[in-house]
Symmetry: C2
Subunit: 458 residues, 2 copies
């Protein structure tokens, strides 16, 4: 069987282009309309895409005067999408910095049950300062955020494992609902969390949701290599893509993981047209709708400096390296500006489409060529598709690029399985507490109270 692409639809409001909401192909008032997103998930499923994905932030970030910001909370939204789809995977972003592992493990387990094994978690550490201020603290340092994330994940996986797969018996006659020898306290006590467990829901269909990661700093890459099963990333050139791909796979191998168990998905925003001219026209239309003040605010946000007084037609000023925010995004932007000698105005236009992700305007064949080039040259296992306008940008991709990729033998015609893991070709993890041949017995876990019950509250 030949290696196949994996495709994720990154769904953002009415499109990834920052001027999407002003374009006649979108309706800016649908940001909180569940039917808009249900339609998008169904389009993705019609195209046999592996999954849909929602980014997330815990503050109103960016200038809402000039852009359609503020959407539905991703996990809440995804169960409404689960209800109207059967195969497409459902990936939500949840921060480890401003959450508790018990809540997060439980909600993903619930979504995994509700969707029949289609849940995925994009694990982020939340780089913004505004987010901290909605939770009564100052933003923890970059390194501390990643340390907390690692411990968070340790607790969450223990909680998902706390009910072994065959813990529920349901024997009415004997009066035995669950075999409590197969339900385990997790008894975690660490630097950030103390969690007794077990989880209050049985093990989800996938065992654990698919774990996704999107940080590209050194800490972020290390975290991805240890824990992530899919990695979203912004890479501008084939060479950068190859470097990142090789680095993550090598790091994973160093952690003893099969490199193919980490699926690498660079982002692309395809601006599609039936002809190249049509594609370029759509690109131009969007560019003409850009509001410079908005772009300046966005860029100031990414770079951690106030650019509002800087002349638009001069090059980006020198930017000090800010180490506590989004390290990898900052580097990508400053590298891009320097490499191509862009003015502030030009840089804003370049970022407006994909905030640092690759924007490609062209015909379905041209987009397919680009996808194939990266896929066959060690830069990608698939792509994170970021339609510039929604829904039409996703429809165009599904109706025109997907058939082209299928015709080239690069993409599935039918889903391989029912779960997200099956479609991504990733193994289902055994419970660490399982004593059968598939598992191992973890020490230090007192499974029951003295009276034989589990976690009876006083």
């Amino acid at each position: 069987m030949s290696r196949k692409l994996h495709l994720n639809a990154f769904l953002m409001g009415v499109g990834h282009h920052e001027a999407a909401w002003r374009h006649p192909r979108t309706d800016p008032l649908r940001l909180t309309d569940v039917r808009h997103f249900q339609n998008l998930a169904q389009i993705a499923e019609r195209g046999r895409l592996d999954s849909v994905f929602f980014a997330d932030g815990l503050a109103l970030q960016g200038d809402v005067r000039h852009n359609a910001l503020g959407g539905l909370e991703p996990l809440t939204l995804l169960s409404a999408l689960a209800a109207v789809t059967d195969h497409v995977g459902l990936i939500a972003t949840v921060s480890t910095t401003y959450n508790e592992p018990f809540h997060v493990a439980r909600r993903f387990a619930s979504l995994d049950h509700i969707s029949g094994g289609r849940a995925g978690w994009n694990i982020v550490t939340s780089a913004g300062e505004a987010e901290a201020h909605n939770f009564g603290i100052e933003r923890p340092a970059h390194r501390d955020r990643y340390e907390r994330a690692a411990e968070f994940l340790e607790v969450a996986t223990r909680l998902w494992d706390s009910w072994e797969d065959d813990a529920v018996v349901g024997d009415r006659d004997a009066g035995i609902y669950a075999d409590i020898a197969k339900i385990h306290q997790v008894d975690h006590a660490g630097a950030h969390f103390r969690v007794k467990g077990p989880l209050n829901i049985q093990r989800p269909p996938q065992g654990r949701p698919l774990l996704v990661q999107a940080g590209s700093s050194d800490d972020g890459r290390d975290f991805a290599a240890r824990h992530a099963e899919a990695v979203f990333t912004a890479q501008q050139t084939l060479e950068e893509g190859q470097e990142f791909y090789a680095d993550i796979k090598a790091r994973a191998a160093r952690y003893g993981r099969p490199p193919e168990n980490v699926v690498i998905l660079p982002g692309i925003s395809p601006i599609l047209g039936g002809t190249e001219r049509e594609a370029l026209r759509l690109e131009k239309e969007l560019e003409d709708l850009i509001i410079p003040a908005y772009g300046v605010a966005q860029l100031s946000n990414i770079l951690g400096v106030d650019l509002s007084g800087h002349p638009l037609d001069e090059p980006l000023p020198h930017v000090p390296v800010e180490t506590e925010g989004q390290q990898s995004r900052l580097k990508l932007v400053t590298d891009l500006a320097r490499r191509e000698g862009l003015s502030l105005r030009e840089l804003i236009a370049r970022l407006a489409g994909g905030r640092g992700h690759r924007v490609l305007a062209g015909t379905p064949e041209q987009i397919a060529d680009q996808i194939q080039e990266w896929f066959e040259n060690g830069a990608a296992d698939g792509f994170n598709i970021m339609p510039p306008v929604l829904p039409s940008g996703l429809e165009d991709f599904v109706d025109h690029v997907v058939p082209e990729l299928q015709a080239r033998g690069l993409f599935r015609h039918e889903y391989e399985g029912r779960t997200l893991r099956e479609n991504y070709g990733l193994p289902r993890p055994a419970s660490r507490y399982a004593s059968g041949p598939a598992g191992e017995i973890a020490g230090g876990n007192a499974p029951e109270n003295a009276d034989g019950t589990v976690a009876v509250a006083s």
Copy 2:
């Protein structure tokens, strides 16, 4: 227009009777099956019930060896129910003790958008000790939990109000998405929370979700009278029901609230049969399936004492008043045992059906008589219906009791409106920040940053 009943379906696993999972009318393996709950919500909607409701706890509490415990997280579940219903209200329990107001406000706002204005929040303070141990702390004192709840609600309502109703403009030509003069920071700094705001989602259809409360201790009643728009309660006798009803309404009036804006819903578990004999047979079948060891563990849990060594056929021993757990539940149980002179075994059987709520076995007419008696004699504005077995217990109620109540002119034939508030006959709150005729301007809120943007992250 005559006063009408309000009916809420309290949905719990495969039924409220603790032996429901062993009865042939249920399938104990459907606890994590979303279709089971989607079916129940659709049955409730067919019966024109105001709402469905899910209780919640943040630990695996109770003896899972002998009962079907551990279900889907309510808020995650409710959006999957929203997707397959149009009118029925959707009420989830969320604890204020182990959550952050920003997350909770945001998720209820999301559910309210997703459901077109059908979200309700049962505000609980989490009485169990096991819950605290999943969040790294010891259970806070009863009074402290209620103090935190009051501040939590203050922050949550500010967040829901932070976007005025008409903040989103969506003017593409002018490039104005939102009128930022109508989006407000909340700038809360209190004993438990520091939250800057605004919320990162626009104001939900109901303005705020319906606020529900279920604690009956003195602190609980006070909280209900100040904040709740609907109150769930367990009352055994008409006299107790009348006392509670009058007390809550009087307290509400003392807080300057119209008493009719607090809807009081005592719980009943109707064991239905076409004849009284049939109903009593179902009751007996369920009683015969009770596992005494389970009941003893449950009762020990409620009372905060270990009863496992106590002889089943002797009266309940003296129980010290435990003030930090569920005060009202404890009192209800000890009063019941004393009033009726019950042995431990008899008390367990009495509690098995409704954990202290009223259990009524009878024909649809007999159940309707009881409902009417309380409704017309100052003990209830409606009821929290707790079917002993699911789905059949809800089907029986909807198909036989509801038509009887409709025939008596006590219950609606069609929904009054599209939102939960409209169906409960409750007003839609204005944003406290609204400067128009409907609102008032709250002080101390700096709506914008100096540069005119809202909450731009650095």
